[in-house]
C-alpha cells in the first residue's frame, strides 16, 4: 500500500503529466492548456502570418551568400503579405527535401541573372490588377520609369554593374519605404546611392565624379533632413528621380529647384541672368549654388569680395559687378542694423526691462532680410533695396525702442539713487536723534 505522501506526489505527477488517470484530471489538463495557449494564440493573431517554408528552414543555417535567416525573412514585406520564396525563385517550399523543393519540375529558377531582375519584379509590381489586392495606392510604373533611367538603359546594353531593384531595396529583408529602417526611406536614400556612387574603384569605368555624397553631406538639404528631421527636404531621388533616375540635364535644373524655391525661380526668370546662363550652357541655379554641396548661402556670396560668386563672371567696373556690390552693401547694412538693435534689446532685457513688443517687431525686420535675400535673385539692386528699406525702418524702430528701454532703466536708477539719498538722510537723522536721547538718558534726569 503506497504511503499517503507517495500518493500525494503521485497525484501531482499525474496532474502535471500527460496521462490523465481520471476524468477530473483530464479536464484540469485541458483547462490548463487552454489558459496557457489562449494568450499565445492571440499574440500570434497580431503578428503577420509568415508561411512556413522548407527553404528558410535549411537556408537559415547557411552563411552568406546563400544564407537567409528567419528574422531577415520575417522582416520582409513580401513574407508578411503571405508570399514565399517560390514567388521569385520558383520551386516548392512545402517539400522538405532539397531535391523536391528545388526541382526543375517545381519550376525552380535558382538565383536570377542581374539583367533579368527588373523584369522579374515587374511581373507583379507592374501589374495593376495584381497589386490592387495588396495596396491599391501603390504605383505600378516603376519598371517603365526604370527603363528610361541611366541604370535601366545601361542594363539593357548588358552592363551588370548598374543598380537593379535589389541593390537599392534589399533582397530578402525588403521593408516598405515609409519604415525608418528601409534602405529607401528618405533618411537613408543618400546612403544607399552612395554605396556605388561614392566608391571610386567601382565607378572607375564611368566618366562621372564620386564626390556627390560628400558634397551632399555638407549641404543645407542634408542638414534639414538628418539634423532637423524635415522629411520634406530633398535627397538624391528628389532631384534625380528614383526609378527613372537620371541627372536632370542643364536646361531642367531650374525646374527641379523651383518646385520648392519657387519665388527665387520666378525672380530669376525675369532677370538678365536667365538668358545669359542659357547662352553659356551652365545650369542656372547650380552655377552659383553648386549641385550637391549646396551650403547655407551667406551675404558674402553676393558682391565683390573674396567669397563672392559674382566675381567668377563679372569683372571690375562692369554693370554686373557694380550691381553686385550695391546688393551686397544693402544686405549687410540691414543685417548690421538688425544686429545693432538686437544688441541693445539684449542689454535692456538683461537689465530687467520688458521689451517683448520690440522683439516681435524685430522678427518682422528679420523677415524683411530673408525676403531681401530672396530678391537677390532678381539681380536688380533697386528691387533688393525696396525690401531692405522696409527692414531698415523696422530695425530703426526697434533700436529706438531698445534705447528707450535703456533710458527708462537709467531713469529708474536715478530715481533709486534719489530715494536712497532721502533714506540715508533719514538714517543719519535717526541715528543722531538716538544719540541725543540716549545721551540725555545717560546724563541723568528721569
Amino acid at each position: 500500500m503506497r504511503s499517503k505522501r507517495t500518493r500525494l506526489i503521485g497525484n501531482w505527477l499525474l496532474a502535471i503529466g500527460f496521462w490523465p488517470k481520471a476524468k477530473s484530471q483530464e479536464l484540469f489538463l485541458v483547462l490548463a492548456a487552454a489558459c496557457l495557449l489562449l494568450p499565445a494564440g492571440l499574440f500570434a493573431q497580431a503578428q503577420p502570418q509568415i508561411a512556413k517554408s522548407s527553404c528558410v528552414e535549411c537556408h537559415s543555417g547557411f552563411p552568406e551568400p546563400t544564407g537567409v535567416t528567419e528574422a531577415q525573412w520575417a522582416a520582409d514585406i513580401h513574407a508578411q503579405k503571405g508570399l514565399t520564396c517560390a514567388g521569385c525563385h520558383g520551386g516548392d517550399p512545402s517539400e522538405p527535401s532539397p531535391e523536391g523543393a528545388m526541382s526543375k519540375k517545381a519550376g525552380f529558377r535558382g538565383k536570377p541573372k542581374r539583367t533579368e531582375i527588373p523584369a522579374m519584379c515587374a511581373k507583379c509590381h507592374a501589374d495593376g490588377a495584381y497589386m490592387r489586392q495588396y495596396n491599391p495606392s501603390l504605383r505600378t510604373d516603376q519598371f517603365a520609369q526604370y527603363q528610361t533611367s541611366v541604370h535601366g538603359k545601361r542594363l539593357a546594353h548588358g552592363d551588370t554593374k548598374v543598380a537593379v531593384c535589389i541593390d537599392c531595396h534589399g533582397v530578402h529583408g525588403i521593408r516598405p519605404s515609409r519604415e525608418p529602417r528601409s534602405t529607401v526611406n528618405p533618411l537613408n536614400v543618400a546612403n544607399t546611392c552612395s554605396r556605388c556612387h561614392s566608391d571610386a574603384a567601382y565607378m572607375k569605368d564611368y566618366k562621372i565624379k564620386t564626390d556627390q555624397f560628400a558634397g551632399y553631406s555638407a549641404s543645407v538639404h542634408h542638414e534639414a533632413m538628418v539634423v532637423r528631421g524635415d522629411l520634406s527636404a530633398p535627397t538624391c531621388t528628389t532631384c534625380h528621380g528614383n526609378h527613372g533616375a537620371a541627372p536632370p540635364g542643364v536646361a531642367s535644373v531650374e525646374n527641379v529647384c523651383s518646385t520648392c524655391h519657387a519665388f527665387q525661380a520666378q525672380l530669376f526668370d525675369i532677370s538678365p541672368h536667365k538668358a545669359a546662363f542659357a547662352a553659356m550652357g551652365t545650369g542656372s541655379c547650380i552655377t552659383c549654388h553648386s549641385n550637391h554641396r549646396i551650403v547655407h548661402p551667406t551675404d558674402a556670396m553676393v558682391g565683390t569680395g573674396n567669397e563672392a560668386v559674382c566675381a567668377n563672371c563679372h569683372a571690375t567696373g562692369d554693370p554686373g559687378f557694380v550691381a553686385a556690390g550695391q546688393i551686397h552693401d544693402d544686405l549687410t547694412r540691414l543685417d548690421e542694423s538688425l544686429k545693432r538693435s538686437d544688441e541693445v534689446l539684449d542689454k535692456a532685457e538683461r537689465s530687467g526691462m520688458e521689451v517683448s513688443q520690440a522683439r516681435i517687431d524685430e522678427a518682422q525686420g528679420r523677415d524683411s532680410l530673408i525676403k531681401a535675400r530672396v530678391t537677390v535673385h532678381s539681380f536688380q539692386p533697386a528691387k533688393v533695396e525696396q525690401d531692405t528699406q522696409a527692414g531698415m525702418k523696422i530695425a530703426d524702430k526697434t533700436y529706438k525702442a531698445g534705447l528707450q528701454a535703456l533710458a527708462e532703466r537709467d531713469y529708474r536708477r536715478k530715481g533709486l539713487g534719489l530715494t536712497l539719498i532721502t533714506i540715508v538722510a533719514v538714517l543719519i537723522g535717526l541715528w543722531m536723534y538716538i544719540r541725543q536721547i540716549e545721551s540725555r538718558n545717560e546724563s541723568g534726569g528721569s
Partner: protein, 374 residues
C-alpha cells in the same frame, strides 16, 4: 520749567492739540499710556528683537503693494499673465510695485524664519509665552501659504509646474491627501479654477486669518513683555536698574525705524536693479521644462524628498518624507510644551535640535540649488 516728557518726539508740540482732541473723544491717553511705558530689555542680544517687527513691517508692505496690484491684476487663466505684463510695462511704476511685492515676499519669509529661530535660541518660547509661540508658528505656516498661493498668480510656466508638483506632493498625505488636493486645485488638475481659488486664498482667506493672528500675537507680546535670554540674564541683572530697560517709544522704535528704512532702501534697490521677471505664459499642454523647482523656502523639503529612495522597506519613500516633515512640524509647534522648564536640561536638547534643523534646512537648500544648476 516743567520736565519735558522724555518720550516726546521732536515734533510733539504741533500734535499736542490733536492729541487732546482725540483724547476727549477716544480716551486716547488711556489707549496709548501702556505704550508709553512699554520697555525693551537692554543687553548684548537686544538687536534680535528687531526681527519680529521687521517681519510685521514687510507684511505691511505686502498688504500695501498687494492692494495696489489688485487694481490691475486679473485672476483668470486667460488674462493673468497679460495683466502682470501690463503692470510691468504699461502702468506707471507698475514694475516697482510688482517687483517690491515679489522681493518683499521673499524677504518677509526669510525674516519670519530668522525670527522663529532667534526666539528658539534665545529661549523666548517657554512659559508663559507658549501661546505666542503657537500663534507665531501658525503665522509662519500662513506666510508659506501666502508664498505658495502668490507664486501661481502670474501664471507663468515655472509657477504652473511648481504648483502642479507642490499640490501633487500634498496629495500624497494619507487619508486626507486626495480631498485636500482637490480642494487646493479646485479640481483634479491645475487649471484656471486653481488660479481663481489661489487668488481667493491669497487676497481674502489668508489675510483675514493672518490679521487676527497678528493681533493676537502682538497682544500677547504687549501683555507678557519681552523675555531676556537665559544666557544674558546674569549680565542683565548686573546692570543698574535704570539701565536695564529702554523705552519702546521713542528709543527702541527709533532704532527699529532705522532698520525699516534700511529695508526700504534694500527693497527699492532690488526692485530697480533686479526687477522680477515675467517668464513665459503657462501652457498646460506643453511638457514640463527641465529644472522645475519650488521657491527657495520649500527647497529643503523638495530636495529631501528627491533624495529619499522610492521605497524604504514597505513604505513609499515620498510618503515617508511627507509624514516625516509633518511630524517635525508638529513637534516644532509643540516645543514649548515638550521643553519643560526654561532652565531645565531638556532645553539644551531643544537647542541642539534647533541647530540641527537650521543646519539641515540651510544645507539642503544650498544643495538643492547646486543640483539644479548642473
Amino acid at each position: 520749567m516743567a520736565s519735558v516728557p522724555e518720550a516726546a518726539p521732536p515734533t510733539a508740540t504741533h500734535s499736542n492739540r490733536l492729541v487732546r482732541w482725540l483724547d476727549e473723544r477716544f480716551g486716547w491717553e488711556q489707549l496709548v499710556a501702556p505704550l508709553r511705558h512699554k520697555t525693551v530689555p537692554v543687553h548684548k542680544l537686544s538687536y534680535w528683537y528687531f526681527l519680529g517687527g521687521m517681519t510685521l513691517f514687510l507684511f505691511m508692505i505686502q498688504v500695501l503693494t498687494g492692494i495696489l496690484l489688485l487694481l490691475y491684476y486679473r485672476p483668470s487663466a486667460n488674462e493673468a499673465f497679460e495683466s502682470v505684463q501690463y503692470i510691468m510695462t504699461q502702468v506707471q511704476f507698475g514694475w516697482l510695485v510688482r517687483s517690491i511685492h515679489s522681493w518683499s515676499a521673499n524677504l518677509m519669509i526669510f525674516t519670519a524664519f530668522a525670527h522663529m529661530f532667534s526666539v528658539l535660541f534665545l529661549r523666548a518660547y517657554t512659559k508663559p509665552r507658549e501661546l505666542t509661540w503657537l500663534t507665531g508658528m501658525v503665522l509662519l505656516f500662513l506666510a508659506l501659504g501666502f508664498g505658495f498661493s502668490g507664486y501661481l498668480l502670474p501664471w507663468n510656466t515655472l509657477a504652473f509646474f511648481a504648483t502642479k508638483v507642490g499640490t501633487e506632493i500634498t496629495g500624497q498625505v494619507p487619508l486626507i491627501g486626495k480631498p485636500l488636493l482637490i480642494f487646493l486645485r479646485g479640481g483634479e488638475e491645475v487649471t484656471g479654477a486653481t488660479l481663481t481659488r489661489f487668488f481667493g486664498f491669497h487676497v481674502a482667506l489668508l489675510p483675514g486669518i493672518t490679521t487676527l493672528l497678528i493681533a493676537t500675537h502682538i497682544l500677547l507680546i504687549q501683555r507678557l513683555g519681552m523675555s531676556v535670554p537665559p544666557g544674558q540674564e546674569a549680565a542683565w541683572k548686573g546692570l543698574p536698574p535704570n539701565q536695564r530697560e529702554m523705552p519702546f517709544f521713542p528709543n527702541f522704535f527709533a532704532h527699529e525705524l532705522m532698520a525699516w528704512y534700511v529695508a526700504l532702501g534694500v527693497l527699492g534697490a532690488l526692485a530697480a536693479l533686479y526687477p522680477w521677471e515675467l517668464g513665459s505664459k503657462a501652457d498646460p499642454f506643453v511638457a514640463a521644462p527641465a529644472g522645475i523647482r519650488p521657491e527657495w523656502y520649500f527647497m529643503f523639503m523638495f530636495q529631501t524628498l528627491k533624495l529619499i529612495p522610492a521605497k524604504v522597506g514597505p513604505i513609499d519613500g515620498e510618503l515617508l518624507g511627507i509624514m516625516g516633515f509633518g511630524l517635525a512640524g508638529l513637534v516644532w509647534v509643540l516645543l514649548p510644551f515638550l521643553g519643560g522648564d526654561r532652565y531645565g536640561r531638556r532645553q539644551v536638547f531643544i537647542r541642539g535640535l534647533g541647530v540641527f534643523a537650521l543646519a539641515y534646512m540651510v544645507s539642503m537648500t544650498v544643495y538643492g540649488y547646486m543640483v539644479a544648476a548642473k
